[in-house]
C-alpha cells in the first residue's frame, strides 16, 4: 500500500489527423510555455510533456530531487523516425542536435532539464498496463532518499506509424492523442493498492475478454469507453479520487488480451491538505 497526495490533474489533447504527425490546431500559448529553443528537433510528444508541466500550477515550485515517470507506449517514435529522415535528406550536413531529441526517453530527459528535476527518470512501457506500472513506479519514487515528489505523465501523441502498430494488437480501440500529468507527493490523503492477475489457462472457457481499460465506482457506473490511450482513464481515475468522500474508493483495471491484468484502487483516507513526512526507501 502507498500513501500519497497529488496536485492538480492536467489532461492535454491534440487534434491530430490519423495520417499525419502534425496537429491541425496546436495550443495557442504553446511557445509562450515551452519556448522555441531547440524546437525544430522535438516531436509533439516532447512538446506536450513540456507544455503540460510548464503550464501547471506547481511548475514554479522547487523541482529538485523530483523523480519523473513517463508512461508511454510510443513516446518519441516520431523523433526517432525524424532522425532517419534527416540523415537521408541532409547527409553529413545533419545537425548533431537531432540525436538527443531522438531517444526513447528524450521527453523525460528534456523535462528533467527544464524543471531541474535531479531525482532520475523512468520511461515505462507495459503495453495496455502502462498506466498501472507508471503510477506504481511514481509512488515507489516517493520513498527514494531525498525524493521531493514524483512527476507522473502518461499518454501518447500518435504518429501514423504508431497508430498502425497499436492497431495490429487492438484494432477495436481508437488511438486518440492525449497526455495526463500530475505531481505525487508524500502524504496521507489517499492510499493506493495494486493487484496483478492473469488468466489461468486451466480455468479459461471460451475466448478471454478483449483488451480494455475501465474504471469502477464510486461515482457512477463502470466506465469502459476508453480507447488505447490510457491517459484519459488515468485522468478520470485521479479526478474521481479527488471528488471522493473519506472512505470511498475508485479502481482502474487494465486487461490485456491473454496477458497480465493490473488493477489499482485508490481510497481517500483524509480530507484535502493532510500531509505526512517523507519516508526513506
Amino acid at each position: 500500500m502507498f500513501k500519497f497526495n497529488f496536485s492538480e490533474v492536467d489532461l492535454v489533447t491534440l487534434d491530430m489527423p490519423s495520417d499525419s504527425s502534425e496537429p491541425s490546431s496546436p495550443p495557442e500559448d504553446l511557445y509562450d510555455v515551452i519556448e522555441t529553443g531547440g524546437d525544430r528537433y522535438r516531436d509533439w510528444f516532447t512538446r506536450m510533456c513540456l507544455y503540460t508541466v510548464g503550464r501547471s500550477f506547481d511548475a514554479a515550485q522547487d523541482a529538485a530531487n523530483q523523480v519523473i515517470v513517463v508512461g508511454t507506449e510510443y513516446g518519441n517514435t516520431p523523433a526517432l523516425l525524424g532522425l532517419q529522415r534527416a540523415a537521408e535528406s541532409q547527409g553529413r550536413r545533419m545537425s548533431s542536435q537531432y540525436f538527443p531529441s531522438a531517444t526513447s526517453s528524450s521527453a523525460a530527459a528534456f523535462l528533467s532539464m527544464r524543471i531541474g528535476a535531479t531525482g532520475g527518470n523512468y520511461t515505462i512501457n507495459a503495453g495496455l498496463l502502462t498506466p498501472i506500472m507508471a503510477f506504481w513506479q511514481a509512488l515507489c519514487g516517493l520513498g527514494y532518499p531525498e525524493s521531493s515528489g514524483s512527476r507522473l505523465l502518461v499518454g501518447d501523441i500518435y504518429c501514423p506509424e504508431s497508430r498502425a502498430d497499436a492497431g495490429k494488437e487492438t484494432p477495436e480501440l481508437a488511438c486518440e492523442p492525449g497526455l495526463v500529468h500530475t505531481c505525487l507527493t508524500a502524504g496521507s490523503e489517499f492510499e493506493a493498492g495494486f493487484e496483478f492477475d492473469a488468466p489461468d489457462e486451466n480455468d479459461e472457457i471460451g475466448e478471454p475478454p478483449p483488451s480494455r481499460i475501465h474504471l469502477r465506482g464510486p461515482i457512477g457506473a463502470t466506465c469502459d469507453r476508453y480507447g488505447r490511450n490510457s491517459a484519459f482513464a488515468l485522468a478520470d481515475l485521479l479526478r474521481a479520487s479527488r471528488r471522493m468522500e473519506i472512505g470511498e474508493s475508485v479502481s482502474m483495471e487494465c486487461l490485456s488480451f491473454r496477458g497480465p491484468r493490473g488493477k489499482v484502487t485508490i481510497t481517500r483516507l483524509s480530507a484535502q491538505g493532510a500531509n505526512m513526512g517523507r519516508s526513506g526507501r
Partner: protein, 395 residues
C-alpha cells in the same frame, strides 16, 4: 510504500554479447582482454567510413535465433531474440525449469534504449513484414513467455542507464511485495538510428574504445543482452547458490545538458547508491566503470574514482566488447556477479602506461581479488541519466 522485504539476491545470470553466446563465452572474452570490434558500413551519404562497432558473432546470433525460434516471428527482431536468450540462460542458471510455478507470477523488467529499433527501421525503409510490431513492450512480453510468467512485464527506457534503472524498478517490485522473483533483462540490438546519431556527434571512428587512456577518442557501439534473476530472501531454495545480494540500484538525473555529463550529477548518483547500500566509498572493492572511452565521460568518472575510491580496482569492459547501449548496465551487472563468483577482475584493454589519471585501473591480466565483498556497476546515458547498482558477496 509499505516495505515487506529488505534483502534481494541474484540467483542466475545469462548474457549474449560480442564475445559470444552464454556467460562462459562472455567471461572468457572479458578475461582474454581482446577487442571484438569490426568495421561499420556507412549508413548515409557523407558518413565517414571505417568506424568500428562490436556485434554479436554470426554463430551466436544463429544460436540465439534457434534457441528462441518458437517465440520469434517470420523476421526475428534481434533485441527480443537476445533478451529471450539471456533470460533463458539466467533462469536455468538459477535452477528454474521453464514453466516452474515459482516463476508464474514473477515480474519481468526489461531495460532497453532502442527497443525494437530494427522493426521500426524496417517500416521506415518500406520493408516491414506487415505483422511485426515495434512497440518496446513486445520485448518484456516475449521474455515473460520464455520465463513462463503471467505477472507484470514492462520496459524501462533511460538511454544507456536503462538496465540499472530496470534493476531499480525490479528491486522496488520485490521490496514492495509485488512479487518474490523478478527477471531483469538489459538488451539492445544494432540500430541504424543509433549509428547515425553517434556519427552526427563524431563520437564513433576508426579506433576502438580505449577507456581511461590518454589518447581515447571514440565510443564503440555494440549489441547484446544480459539477464539477472532476482529473488527475495524468503523465496530462495536449498539448491540455489546466489551470486550476490543486490544492495543498491539508484538513479539520478543531471538536469543539465542533453549529451554532456555533469560532474555534480554523477557524484550525486554515487552518493545515493552508497547511502542506499548503507556503505562508505571505502567499502567498494571493485568498480565496473561506465568507461565509454569518450573524453568527457572518462574524465568525470575517473576523477570520482581517484578522489573517492582510490582503493577500488576499476575496470571497463567496453574496451573488449564495446558499448551495448541500454544493455551496458547488464554487461556490467553480469560481470559484477561473475567477479564475486570467481574472485577475479578482468583487465581493461589499455596499457598501464596509457592511463590518463592516477587510477587503480586493472590492466594487462585479470586481477585476483580473493577478499572481494562489494562490486559497483556504473551506467550513465544521454539525457543526464545516471544509475548505479552495488552487489555484495553472499556468504
Amino acid at each position: 510504500m509499505t516495505a515487506t522485504v529488505s534483502r534481494v539476491f541474484v540467483t542466475g545470470v545469462g548474457i549474449i554479447s560480442p564475445a559470444g553466446a552464454g556467460r562462459q563465452a562472455y567471461w572468457d572474452g572479458l578475461c582474454s582482454a581482446a577487442p571484438h570490434f569490426d568495421e561499420l558500413p556507412p549508413l548515409y551519404a557523407g558518413m565517414k567510413p571505417g568506424a568500428l562497432g562490436a556485434w554479436v558473432p554470426e554463430s551466436a546470433r544463429e544460436a540465439a535465433i534457434a534457441a528462441t525460434k518458437s517465440k520469434a516471428g517470420a523476421r526475428p527482431r534481434m533485441a527480443e531474440v537476445y533478451a529471450a536468450y539471456a533470460a533463458t540462460e539466467a533462469i536455468e542458471d538459477a535452477c528454474f525449469l521453464a514453466g516452474d510455478p515459482s516463476l508464474s507470477r514473477s515480474v519481468v523488467c526489461v531495460g532497453t534504449s532502442d527497443g525494437q529499433a530494427d522493426a521500426l527501421e524496417a517500416i521506415y525503409a518500406g520493408d516491414g513484414d506487415g505483422s511485426s510490431r515495434f512497440s518496446s513492450a513486445g520485448i518484456p512480453s516475449s521474455v515473460a513467455q520464455v520465463v513462463g510468467s503471467a505477472g507484470p512485464a514492462f520496459a524501462v527506457q533511460a538511454t544507456c542507464a536503462s538496465t540499472n534503472a530496470a534493476l531499480s524498478c525490479a528491486r522496488d517490485a520485490l521490496v514492495s511485495g509485488m512479487a518474490e522473483t523478478a527477471v531483469v533483462v538489459g538488451c539492445d540490438a544494432y540500430s541504424q538510428k543509433n549509428i547515425i546519431g553517434f556519427s552526427s556527434l563524431q563520437a564513433i571512428g576508426p579506433t576502438g574504445c580505449r577507456p581511461f587512456s590518454r589518447d581515447r577518442r571514440f565510443v564503440t557501439p555494440a549489441e547484446g543482452a544480459g539477464a539477472l534473476v532476482l529473488q527475495t530472501e524468503r523465496s530462495l531454495r536449498q539448491d540455489q547458490h546466489p551470486y550476490a545480494e543486490l544492495v543498491a540500484a539508484s538513479i539520478s538525473n543531471d538536469a543539465s545538458h542533453p549529451t554532456t555529463p555533469d560532474p555534480g550529477g554523477v557524484r550525486r548518483c554515487h552518493r545515493r547508491a552508497l547511502e542506499e547500500a548503507g556503505l562508505e566509498a571505502s567499502h567498494i572493492d571493485v568498480i565496473y566503470a561506465h568507461g565509454t572511452g569518450s573524453r568527457i565521460n572518462d574524465e568525470i568518472e575517473g576523477r570520482i574514482f581517484v578522489d573517492d575510491f582510490p582503493h577500488a580496482a576499476v575496470t571497463a569492459v567496453k574496451g573488449t566488447i564495446g558499448h551495448m547501449m541500454g544493455a551496458a548496465g547488464a554487461a556490467g551487472a553480469v560481470a559484477a556477479c561473475l567477479t564475486l563468483r570467481h574472485r577475479l577482475v578482468p583487465a581493461t584493454v589499455v596499457d598501464s602506461s596509457e592511463i590518463e589519471l592516477d587510477l587503480n585501473l586493472v590492466t594487462g591480466a585479470a586481477r585476483p581479488v580473493p577478499n572481494v565483498r562489494y562490486v559497483q556497476n556504473n551506467a550513465f546515458g544521454f539525457g543526464g541519466n545516471n544509475a548505479i547498482s552495488i552487489f555484495r558477496r553472499t556468504s
